[in-house]
Subunit: 161 residues, 4 copies
């Protein structure tokens, strides 16, 4: 049996994202409530989020869709163009992200909306790197935002389950 | 600190629903996959679902809305009439139910849709009792369906977390 | 047949919210994309959002729950206390809001998360008025945020349907 | 500007799905409420659903993911295997489907859950064709179910907007 969590951490790394980056984004979301929260305290929540099968499969699918756009290997060239330019009305990237956030309740959804608009830290970086045409992170920035939003929500709930 | 899980189990009982009834509904949803599954095996999942704060608050709100409709103590009499006759297009009851199912992923949502249409067991009973005008279970039948759907989904995922 | 849209506009007014306030919030959400957008242009979208049955019923239910909390007429006093102090983990208010935003796609959800955290304009006002104990707007601030977020999303899609 | 609706109808046809098939599935979902409903009456709703940008993009993405699985051109071979065998816990296909259904409210979600379990008509056919290994309809059967569920919900709401 494949360890999908380890695979996902590896995929994130390949695509330029560390768990530390995600913890930093999650800490940003909790900053108003726990000013002195250290991002290390959020790492346990991030691991727990990455343990969920739905999160793993969403992440794997997102990276596949990004990489194929980067490689220009889509069969549907209209779709490839839309994804490569991260068109504002595309929305399937956010739909995948909500599939993750929903698992962590309404706080996760609100967190996601906020960080998606604010484009803090790693999300800003992925977004920027995607704009120059070499990389495509249309899906990944939303997935990373969703993992951060979910980890922050889990932490807020004091939910160690 | 109030133990909200125990409170919810008590509220369910008052409204005519036992955990055994919910386990029976959850077993019905899993029957195609595990023919010889005993409903006792699902009780642990049901307890886990009832441990979630979001589930507890949705259930408490649902019962409040049902009871006040029964007592005819709504301030908004149009709304009271709509809820008392469980109007098909009302939909807020299902919105609360989806707030629960979303926490357990897409299998929970599909399960809910199925049992909501099939009206199996306790859901059928609540629905029937609501029709005679003495009781109002407009919200509760959906909440109970959502708990059963979520417990079945959790079990399917083999998710003991 | 009751005109539920007019009823909802009346309920909003009673609770201190004008369509102009909502248009102002929607304009704030679109400001990055259309700097010179006038809020009048958003009023048509707000009317269209308020025409949906799901929106009307969510709003009516939200106002009922707020008013009864204000009047201290809940049967469940634990629930009443939670709603009166707008407890951060309650979440049913956001669940109702998402029931509206979902109808307008992923942009509406993201918009909602942003304005819910930023507490701009009327949402800030409702939130503040709710804090002093005379009023309870635990549900309404989220519903108003959801209507603004949905109207902005509808406008972004250029969706006149 | 590409006419995405026509493109989607073409994609459906290529993958073995006619609008008539979808109308038949939608009629099945409404049969309890309108026994003598003709599927022709549902075609207008199906066209309206296919007019939404979110639906078009979800469908285009779904077909891309299915075709690449059929062609065995995924970069991630674990993911390819999971999608090719339509693994029960995968769930991203349903997440895309819910992205469509959410636009049509709670009735659409319930409809989807029901038809997804019942596998009526074209959904049964796609599912069966996917099992023999030549075709992969892991995503498409859910998208078609979502379009049928949404069209039926739109019809139920008498919503000609």
């Amino acid at each position: 049996m494949i360890n999908f969590r380890d695979k996902c951490i590896q995929l994130l790394k390949e695509r330029g994202v560390t768990l530390d980056d995600i913890a930093d984004a999650a800490r940003f979301l909790q900053a108003n409530y726990h000013a002195d929260l250290k991002k290390e305290e959020l790492l346990e929540s991030i691991h727990s989020v990455l343990d969920k099968r739905e999160v793993q499969f969403a992440l794997m699918t997102a990276v596949e869709l990004d990489k194929q756009a980067e490689n220009k290997t889509y069969l549907d060239k209209d779709l490839e163009a839309i994804i490569r330019r991260d068109e504002g009305l595309y929305g399937v990237d956010e739909v995948l992200a909500y599939g993750i956030c929903n698992l962590y309740g309404s706080i996760a959804l609100t967190n996601f909306g906020f960080i998606d608009k604010k484009k803090y830290g790693i999300i800003e970086k992925l977004n920027g790197d995607g704009k120059d045409g070499r990389y495509c992170h249309t899906f990944l920035d939303d997935i990373v935002g969703a993992i951060a939003a979910s980890a922050a929500s889990r932490f807020a709930h004091g939910d160690r389950k």
